[in-house]
């Protein structure tokens, strides 16, 4: 499968809007700090290649919150960061609400909630744009080496991966948000987006 330039652009722009909503939510969690987003990258690759790519970036144990979504198209939305950064993020969110020694205890729980808010913001704006509904599962937190975190069952499985990096400058915090789509779903997603575009131009 090959994506045309127009389709790739359409996908990037759509998910860009979604990640914009996600960044907005993240900024609110961090008390209004600006979140800097990179231009989205879109790649067709195997799950094994995805693992290598994510590994190259972090090089250490990573922490991920994943949410599976289903609707006219399905896939997985993920938020990934290193372990050190995840604790910092929790500290930012809970601030002075609980004593420092309890923060570590709450870390996993709190990260799931951050992931839930951020990924849902992204998926909700995407669903609203195409005028349909996406069902989202409960967020799942995984910590460990990349292979375990991504639970790669079939390394040759082809996927479309869209990633955007985010940075919170003041706290030197960075991570990335990624979307994994099965190829079947990509066709459905593109059809939805084309309908959306058509509806705009027909008015």
């Amino acid at each position: 499968m090959k994506l045309s330039e127009n389709h790739a652009d359409l996908l990037k722009e759509t998910l860009n809007l979604g990640v914009g909503a996600a960044a907005d939510a993240l900024s609110e969690i961090a008390g209004g700090e600006e979140i800097i987003l990179t231009v989205p990258q879109l790649q067709l690759m195997s799950t094994a290649q995805l693992a290598r790519q994510v590994c190259d970036v972090s090089g250490e144990e990573i922490c991920s919150v994943t949410e599976t979504f289903r609707g006219p198209f399905s896939g997985k939305a993920m938020m990934l960061y290193s372990q050190r950064e995840s604790l910092e993020l929790v500290r930012l969110m809970l601030g002075d609400m609980i004593p420092v020694e309890q923060i570590r205890e709450m870390e996993g729980e709190a990260l799931c909630e951050v992931g839930n808010i951020v990924l849902n913001a992204c998926l909700a704006s995407l669903a609203d744009m195409i005028g349909s509904e996406l069902q989202t599962d409960i967020p799942e937190l995984k910590v460990g080496q990349i292979e375990q975190v991504l639970s790669l069952e079939d390394e040759e499985h082809s996927i479309l991966y869209l990633r955007m990096d985010f940075t919170m400058a003041r706290h030197n915090l960075q991570g990335h948000i990624g979307f994994v789509f099965d190829l079947d779903s990509v066709t459905a997603l593109i059809a939805c987006l084309e309908n959306y575009l058509k509806s705009i131009f027909e008015i």
Partner: protein, 124 residues
Amino acid sequence: MKKILIVDDSKTARMMLKHWLTALRPDATILEADGADQALAHMKQPEGEWMAFIDYNMEGLNGMELVEALMPFIPATRMALVTANFQAAVQDRAHGKGIRFMKKPMNPKKVQMLLNQMEQAEVQ
């Protein structure tokens, strides 16, 4: 007696909401539930003037299904769906039932706004 019920499967979300609610309504009794089962168990002692803050995506009954189940105990205008899932479809469903909707992340301002709206609302 004022009773405020927080239903969310995330302990973090409940903790934050409880923190703000306690500060804003120190006299109210604040009860927590991690899902529909615990929320409905609280209804075994239904007396009091109830308000409820309910998450949407939860194991078992989702937030809107729980709202239905709570209707005999808590007036719709005193319930709010508080969720990161702000899709128009979900918001429409909430408004269709006459309950309030607020987008996560929560903050003291949003909590205050919901409390004011719920307290001023007519109880049908």
